[in-house]
Amino acid sequence: MALPTFKGGVHPPDHKELSAGAPVKEAPSPSQVLIPLSQHIGAPCKCTVKIGQEVKKGDLIGEPTGFVSAPVHSSVSGKVVALMDVPNAMGRMVPAVVIENNGKEEWAQLKDNPDYMRLAPEELREKVKDAGIVGMGGATFPTHVKLSPPKEKPVDVVIINGAECEPYLTADHRLMVESPAEVLEGLKVIMRILGVEKGYVGIESNKPDAVEKMKEAASGEAGIEVVELEVKYPQGAEKMLIKAITDREVPAGGLPMDVGVVVQNVGTALAIFEACRYGKPLIERVVTVTGRGVKNPGNLMAKIGTPVRELIEACGGLNDNPVKVVLGGPMMGFAQYTLDVPVAKGTSGVLVMSEEEHSASGKFGHCIRCGNCIDACPMGLMPSLLSIFSEKGFYEETKDYNILDCFECGTCTYVCPAKRPIVQFIRLAKSLIKR
């Protein structure tokens, strides 16, 4: 039987074999961490510490300045040594708190809640908010906002996104294999917060061990179903995942809650459980360090603020052939110009690409109108035409072709035989017409 999926998409080689079998290891504690004050979509945090101040693990160092915002906590115990700008994954300089690690791993006072499932939904939501949890699949949207749907948008389904459709990445995969019960508890907390009876865990079928473990954990749980999905990029995009699992179609320009669905990433679910159970803020996450440019690919539990350089060193260092370092996956990740960039809440992977793995973007030809991109576009757009309009400067015309529905998955550029930078042209047009 065909597994559920969506229309369109592509099958890039997934190269997950490099790190899929490697259990999550604790990354060495860095001598200092650089914790950006803005690791989420929304208002940046206000710094709450001073240079010279001693902090412990889990201490608040940045407080939110709006509803759509998330607090930031220290991931080490030690002393604040600098408040300075550091590069983020997108290459911009953002304010950050630099903390020197005293190696004592002292925790701040955390509030343990063995009976967390008895807490009122509002209390649980407050715990998620205070823990600074954001969408850990990469979108980094503050989670408590997603868990506060307006009254006129009733939610009846929660989906845990275990698709992990980006090639190479295995962080969510390992979490599902190693901590299935915790991930499932996270789902139950989300369902309780939203008052929802139906929960799903969507996993691509290239992770049979994760499917098995999650099914085992979910057996006997009423209303929770583990769904095996076809392996296809971008299966993990919210709208595609919702379509595959519930057959509901999020309206163009709309949000999942418009069709009564809230989607949370596997890592986010685990963080939600830990926040509600142990009062633990989001100060560490699993990062897949992979690619043929790194000696021993693997999955590391890394403290937020750890420079990427130290994660690469923890995996044996670079081979002699790296050409590019990408944060995230190869389809939507960001290439880095420095290895000083710190791990943030949305950093799912560090991909060190060798010359052979990486496709150079360079010369491209005319569109031959083969329609490959139209067939592959998960949003049903006509990327070929959009790219031509954008290339020729007809930006306004792109609106008639629903350019704003594009979420820039890059599938069009991937399939183009003329090697046209289609999604790049689309980004250009989008940024210009939004002005």
Binding site: V10, P12, P167, K239, K243, E249, V250, P251, A252, G253, G254, D320, N321, P322, V323, K324, V326, P330, M331, M332, G333, A335, Q336, Y337, T338, L339, L351, E355, E357, H358, S359, A360, S361, G365, H366, C367, I368, R369, C370, G371, I374, C377, P378, M379, G380, L381, M382, L385, Y401, N402, D405, G410, T413, V415, C416, P417, A418, K419, V423, Q424
Partner: protein
């Protein structure tokens, strides 16, 4: 690209960082390969002249591409196989008896004028090979419709005629056609195998179907245009093709003859000159079918595939504009 020896040499580009290994060249050369069975049959059936005519078309096409690209200071792209494919298709659309200047001049019209002067690959409105052939047909109507007897390879078979089956049908009706081929069964068999007069690459339906199946398997074409095109021709031929009133026509005869198979599988499916969406392609195919039958049954020419495709080429951009792909999540919102 050099390996980044130092951190400072790391490459920074925007996503996606990986690409499929598909290229324009691979597509064009694969389509050329898929024409091989039909071409080989043409050579076997019409003799060395078929090679000669086709070679002239290919050389003319490559030269025209090179010339215009040199003259306009653009990059020379002979390696992408596009000009080669145009030449091959043009050659397969010629009578094997064409004198040397026809292939040369038509290939210049096809590649230099129809394609390069409009901006090169991707920007031509009309199918280059078909414009080349249309130009030849109008300029040298006699030479382009004199179908010589095939070489001795099939002595004893009913291939002596110097008119195409559709020509015979137009002149003398079904009766005459059956008379020439012996009986109805051998008429269909000969048409299927390709034992008939015609352009050198169009005659063998079976060889063209093999090539088409290969392209479908490689996913370089989809069923939409060939099926809607052929289906429309079949239905309309059945409905209006008979002398005895409605629904007395012979759809099989129309499907197996003329340039229909070559046109429906290899010419109408040209990416550049057909619509990009599947629905648009079905509309395009139906339009091609309607025009083909209209010309075959009611116009002066016995065959209409070429003009039908060329006329529909004009409409391809309009079809694309009016039959956009279905945007995810848009229908529900529109319904509100």
């Amino acid at each position: 690209m050099a390996v980044a020896k130092k951190e400072q040499e790391l490459l920074v580009t925007v996503s996606p960082h990986i690409r499929s290994d598909e290229t324009v060249g691979r597509i064009m050369w694969t389509v050329s390969l898929s024409l091989l069975p039909a071409f080989v049959f043409g050579v076997y059936y019409f003799g060395p002249k078929a090679v000669y005519v086709t070679a002239l078309c290919i050389v003319g096409s490559l030269f025209s591409e090179w010339l215009v690209q040199k003259m306009t200071g653009r990059e020379v792209t002979l390696g992408d196989g596009s000009a080669f494919l145009t030449g091959l298709l043009l050659g397969m659309n010629m009578p094997a008896s064409a004198p040397f200047y026809i292939p040369l001049v038509s290939s210049f019209v096809a590649v230099a004028i129809t394609k390069q002067l409009f901006g090169g690959i991707g920007y031509n409105i009309f199918n280059p090979a078909l414009i080349g052939r249309a130009f030849a047909l109008i300029t040298w109507p006699r030479a382009m419709t004199s179908w010589t007897e095939p070489t001795a390879a099939f002595v004893g078979l009913d291939a002596k005629t110097t008119a195409t089956p559709l020509g015979l049908l137009k002149e003398g009706g079904m009766q005459k056609l059956v008379e020439v081929f012996g009986d109805k069964a051998s008429l269909y068999t000969d048409l299927l195998l390709g034992h008939r007069a015609g352009s050198l690459g169009e005659t063998s339906v079976i060889a063209l179907l093999v090539g088409g199946a290969f392209l479908l398997y490689k996913r370089y074409i989809t069923w939409h245009i060939p099926v809607s095109f052929l289906g429309t021709v079949a239905v309309l031929a059945w409905a209006f093709g008979g002398k005895g009133g409605l629904f007395t026509g012979d759809p099989l005869l129309h499907l197996l003859s003329g340039g229909l198979m070559l046109g429906a599988i290899f010419m109408a499916t040209d990416y550049v000159t057909c619509p990009s969406t599947r629905l648009g392609q079905v509309v395009f195919g139906i339009g091609c079918g309607v025009l083909t039958i209209l010309i075959r049954l009611k116009a002066g020419y016995p065959e209409g595939v070429m003009f039908a495709i060329l006329l529909m080429n004009c409409f391809a951009p309009m079809i694309d504009r009016n039959l956009k792909s279905k945007v995810f999540g848009l229908k529900k919102e529109a319904r509100k």
